[in-house]
């Protein structure tokens, strides 16, 4: 059981949340409430990571972050190590591929808030941020929680992009999913089996908790 990889995977999942969620929530709210032409295109763009093969995403991420890119080079000059094949690079890649998982459930949750409630909030004298904080977030909570859970589970299981952008560096980019692949290649099927089961159980638990919580919260807020 590769505990280093487990810890790394958890670190990656948490870091992705921290980096992705605030802009995702704000972006989701903006998309939910601002009608404008071409919104469909933006929504489509944000959904790209869902349909693109990880290899395509990995390829473009390497182009953007690798040592031959301006971003990669300036990162190297600043921190002394490469952006690709580092944990930081992995967090960026992971945040990118999880955009649809974070934005879509949150957007649906914001869209579900009836317009009258927004207007009632204005009539109560609430400013934009007050309304966002006291009315919208509490009501959109199930969707946001769902976004958190889906992103978490998805990051734990991500393989293709992690391999392409991170390589297989123990303690740095060898996540649990990569480690399983690694063990399989070393014919260590026992270890691979144990870790696979572990990942399976975590994923199932995460999804179950997420669905259960969301259902419970929805019931509380439903208007008869």
């Amino acid at each position: 059981m590769d505990w280093v990889a487990v810890v790394l995977s958890l670190k990656l999942a948490i870091a992705t949340q921290l980096l992705l969620l605030p802009p995702a929530i704000i972006g989701a709210r903006w998309l939910a409430l601002t009608p404008f032409r071409g919104k469909v295109w933006i929504e489509g763009l944000l959904a790209l990571p869902l349909v693109l093969p990880p290899t395509v995403i990995g390829y473009y991420l390497l182009v953007i972050m690798g040592s031959q890119s301006p971003l990669g080079r300036s990162f190297e000059n600043w921190w002394g190590q490469s952006l690709a094949f580092s944990f930081t690079g992995l967090v960026i890649a992971s945040a990118f591929i999880n955009i649809p998982f974070a934005v879509q459930p949150a957007q649906r949750a914001f869209e579900a808030i009836p317009t009258e409630l927004h207007e009632a909030a204005k009539c109560c004298g609430l400013t934009f941020w007050q309304s966002f904080h006291r009315i919208e977030l509490p009501l959109a909570w199930p969707g946001i929680l769902s976004a958190v859970m889906m992103t978490f589970a998805h990051t734990l299981g991500e393989f293709g992009v992690v391999l392409m952008v991170g390589g297989n560096i123990p303690g740095e980019t060898r996540t649990l999913a990569i480690s399983i692949y690694d063990r399989t290649q070393s014919f260590d099927f026992t270890a691979a089996g144990t870790m696979s089961l572990f990942l399976l159980l975590i994923s199932v638990a995460t999804i179950a908790v997420s669905y259960g919580l969301a259902e419970r919260l929805l019931r509380r807020r439903r208007l008869t």
């Binding site: 031959q68 190297e76 930081t88 014919f187």
Partner: protein, 265 residues
């Protein structure tokens, strides 16, 4: 209410910083190696760590993909390839200070899983008749595009005149290790795999293996070269030296590698 939000923001920012800021402290150097020497190198590295107390991080893949990663800025300090071309390519691009050193020569052979009924022989006569009888549905080699052992396998099949015939049945492993896994798993009816990997207990018990003479893959002689990369630190250099010493060489020999002659470019 406002103070509460500010508090959350602070914790948040702190966590983000702590997790994401790159670890600047000196960590164990990363040694990248072709997957064919996985077991041999792991043993050697363990010995090195026991002897010197210095830790190493190992990562394996095909020589081609590791080369590509280095070109993309992967932070490896030492690279043990399964061929010479990868090394030459990196050296010419200026990723190292010298041209590296041959540390071993690899061997390939034919592996036939127990469940399949044909003989494993160096001339591949058994394979030929199995092909003609339609017994072969899948045959695995490493991907010649980026694995030297794959190129060697292709050369061997060409010299036996079987390359065209076996084309439709080829299942390419991403590297020599994956090809070995395919061969041993029973999902294929045989494959051409490195001797070093065939010698491991998990593989040995699953089928017959026969070694090819080196002249059948003269195009890809599998002279394996290693390279110290530009940013190599002290520990990496020590390991580079260690690999050339008798204790390491013995381990390599045990795994079926041919050792380089005393004088070496």
């Amino acid at each position: 209410m406002k103070n509460q939000s500010r508090g959350w923001l602070k914790i948040f920012g702190f966590l983000l910083l702590v997790i994401c800021v790159p670890q600047a402290h000196a960590a164990a150097p990363i040694v990248a190696a072709a997957s064919s020497i996985k077991f041999a190198l792991t043993e050697i590295a363990a010995g090195f760590e026991a002897e010197t107390g210095q830790a190493l991080k190992l990562t394996f893949g095909s020589s081609g993909s590791i080369t590509h990663q280095i070109e993309q800025g992967a932070p490896f300090e030492l690279f043990l390839a399964a061929d010479e071309n990868s090394i030459t390519r990196l050296a010419t691009q200026g990723f190292s200070q010298d041209g590296g050193r041959v540390y071993a020569s690899g061997r390939v052979g034919l592996f036939v899983p127990h469940a399949v009924q044909y003989q494993a022989d160096p001339q591949m006569a058994g394979l030929r008749s199995a092909l003609q009888q339609g017994q072969i549905k899948r045959f695995t080699i490493a991907n010649p595009a980026h694995a030297p052992y794959g190129r060697a396998a292709r050369a061997a099949l060409k010299s036996a005149g079987l390359w065209q015939e076996i084309q439709p049945f080829l299942a390419l492993g991403e590297n020599a290790s994956q090809a070995t896994q395919f061969a041993a798993s029973g999902a294929t009816q045989g494959g051409i795999i490195p001797l070093a990997l065939a010698r491991t207990p998990e593989i040995e018990t699953r089928g017959q293996f026969v070694l090819f003479p080196t002249d059948v893959h003269a195009d890809e002689p599998l002279h394996q070269r290693m390279l110290l990369l530009k940013n190599a630190g002290k520990v990496a250099r020590d390991f580079y030296a260690y690999l050339q010493q008798p204790v390491a060489q013995q381990i390599l020999a045990r795994y079926g590698f041919d050792l380089p002659a005393k004088e070496n470019p």
